[in-house]
Symmetry: D3
Subunit: 164 residues, 6 copies
């Protein structure tokens, strides 16, 4: 681990890390997160989803489009031309889980795109269900896998030994 924050220069000011000396390699990142809600709200989304798919369909599009805007949203992120980003959903007990996978051939990693996709997909679900439940809570947003780049393959503990 580095001893200091990579975005802070010697005088402590914010800076964008210069990636020009780094190699272009294929890089993949997987992020996840969840939104907890009342059974009533969950049922309404599930029913809507079974019939027409629009709550999760809208959140999926929102997450994909947000991944493409990561460099616009996160001040010190490099703008990246993604090879792919996809967003999936799963129903859990009292919650909906969102997982995003992003891929690129670039000099820098793609974690922020995957995390941004998950975050905005979750906020979109919140928006669409907020009339049913004001107490929903978004949590568990984190990176669970990373491939490529100098540091190679990495998996979060507790999420198994899956392949991406």
């Amino acid at each position: 681990m580095p001893e200091r924050l990579t975005h802070i220069d010697d005088a402590g000011n914010a800076r964008m890390v210069d990636v020009s000396p780094k190699q272009v390699t294929k890089r993949t990142a997987v992020a996840t997160g969840r939104i907890e809600m009342s059974g009533e709200a969950l049922d309404a989304i599930r029913a809507g989803n079974v019939q027409k798919g629009d709550v999760l369909g809208t959140a999926r599009i929102a997450g994909i489009m947000a991944a493409k805007k990561t460099g616009d949203l996160i001040p010190l992120c490099h703008p990246l031309a993604l090879d792919a980003v996809n967003v999936d959903f799963g129903f859990e007990n009292g919650a909906i889980r969102v997982t995003a996978i992003a891929t690129i051939s670039a000099k820098t990693g793609i974690e922020m795109e995957a995390i941004t996709a998950v975050s905005v997909a979750l906020v979109t679900i919140y928006d669409m269900a907020k009339a049913l439940d004001k107490g929903m809570e978004i949590g568990g947003i984190r990176l669970i896998a990373k491939e490529g780049g100098k540091s190679g393959s990495w998996r979060a503990e507790g999420y198994g030994d899956f392949e991406v």
Copy 2:
């Protein structure tokens, strides 16, 4: 509580709610969330913050700017011309808390702007500290207070009886 998802029309398709019959009133929303990280990462941010303020300063600007982009990010949100949005930070045990307050005079509420500000500020902290800790986790993102509009004043349980 309404019996159905307000963004879904009778055929189950996504739609933007028509707010034209609603009254313009002053509306305020407060949202919160947190990012858990290692003591090492927390210390680095705290030290940077005490000396130069740039990690949290950058996240604050990112959150404010994201609130202004809420209508661009969340598909069925109305575009709103905010009267104000502000973002604050607090150090907790093993985490940094972000709180955002947004205000507007409009026909529709401002919850999504507050939640978007919190979410993007947290993702920005993640970006700036990710070289120190790959296992950080963002959570506890939720609405804690709401003022104005037809439904009036609302407070989340467990956050006290504060005034905004």
Copy 3:
């Protein structure tokens, strides 16, 4: 009809029309358009739509989000905070029809938002079906109804006497 182009000043330069003396009134606009494609492409979309709804669901979200960006895309359009915009689809013989309705309380009309929603929804359908048919053609994009503002109610000929 005015005798000159309203966006061109006396010296012939492009200019944004000053709407500050105009009244805020409720305004509505309806636009339509269609994309012609092979039976094979149409069947694939229809089948996908019946089962999962994703082609048209994605195009609907794209159209709604584009309407919110009209002022960013069309150089001399005023930025407008829409009260609502919605996008619908119908299958025709050899084509898919897109119709959008936009509503606002403002000093200026909402035609461009409705036309932008239709155009971007159609281009999105094109994008999603282009692997099946390179010869698709987008056409018939026009305004069909307008309500509100100084000029009041207007209907395009040949589209009936409907209410919006």
Copy 4:
């Protein structure tokens, strides 16, 4: 031709196609479209154009800028760093024709950028002339030529055997 929609995954959900295994090659696309209008509107634009060039000059800039935003507008399009995009106009009988050519070295084609440039240039002409003619109609938007990529050179029938 593929047997299924390339943007739909096995479960029927919208997805961004992963282009990471594809080769970077030079790719070019040409798209066209037209806007029909009254003789009065056409004369006003033509006169303005001969003298000062601003209606078509504005539409040209709008088309070029929109091509750069294609990935922001069309949900499942890859963000692409264009090598060039240019937009031209021609007067036809009762209409103005817009043609756009886009070029890139990338893993995926550039058709959507050319079609987006044409569409937004046409909508911009509509915006600038709408005070003169509410009945204008945009149509004939389609791809007419494609170079590069695995499928190589393609020309639409009826547009001749031109070189790009």
Copy 5:
């Protein structure tokens, strides 16, 4: 004059000023600036301008579109729905002058929109002429007039007693 920076809160952090208690009034702002360049570059633009108008025509559109993005560019600016913004040019000795006027009915002033329009129009001229002169310099960007709001009418010294 206030004794402290209005965007800094009591703890010294950046904040967006809350304009919710302020009155909606009509507000106008005029800003100006210039770009100095070699006679060769100036002649090329002037010739292009007389014949076809495209350098200044492009800069005019860029300035107008940038004014609409002011809230996206300047972190603590309120998003404002402009009533009008226009950009004009004049040839001076060794320079081109850009002047922008912006108008709105809002709770807060419109100076930043006028200054942003001038700045981006000047940077666009720079971009279009940079192959002719690498030593161009942009300067003299400032507010010259302000109308409306609590502080009323204001004129910069040395720019005469004009009416807006």
Copy 6:
């Protein structure tokens, strides 16, 4: 020096230069500019900066984010995926100086990104200090160094023989 404006085609219309035949090389650009203000305003920023760093910290983030939007703001600029951009400040007599350095591996230069970063950082300082001084003036915005590309290394006269 070329004999004609590179963005204007043979018919005098605006066009985006086709960079597809150009080589990808590492390119760097440095731009600078300054904002003159009253001693009172300068002292307030300096004091704020020593304690909390927020005026210049906010302007730094605004400049970095604007550099990433250069292709969105400047009509004929190519969209570029920056390797790095950084913004620094210095206090001068009666003014604050802003300097930006941008780096990329691309087919075209990065001057516009450096100039855009400087311009928007200066406009942000203006925004944050305008309540203290309505007469501030932004000037001296120019390129001071360029590395890479076919034309190689270039330095503005009067800025010394520094290395970037």
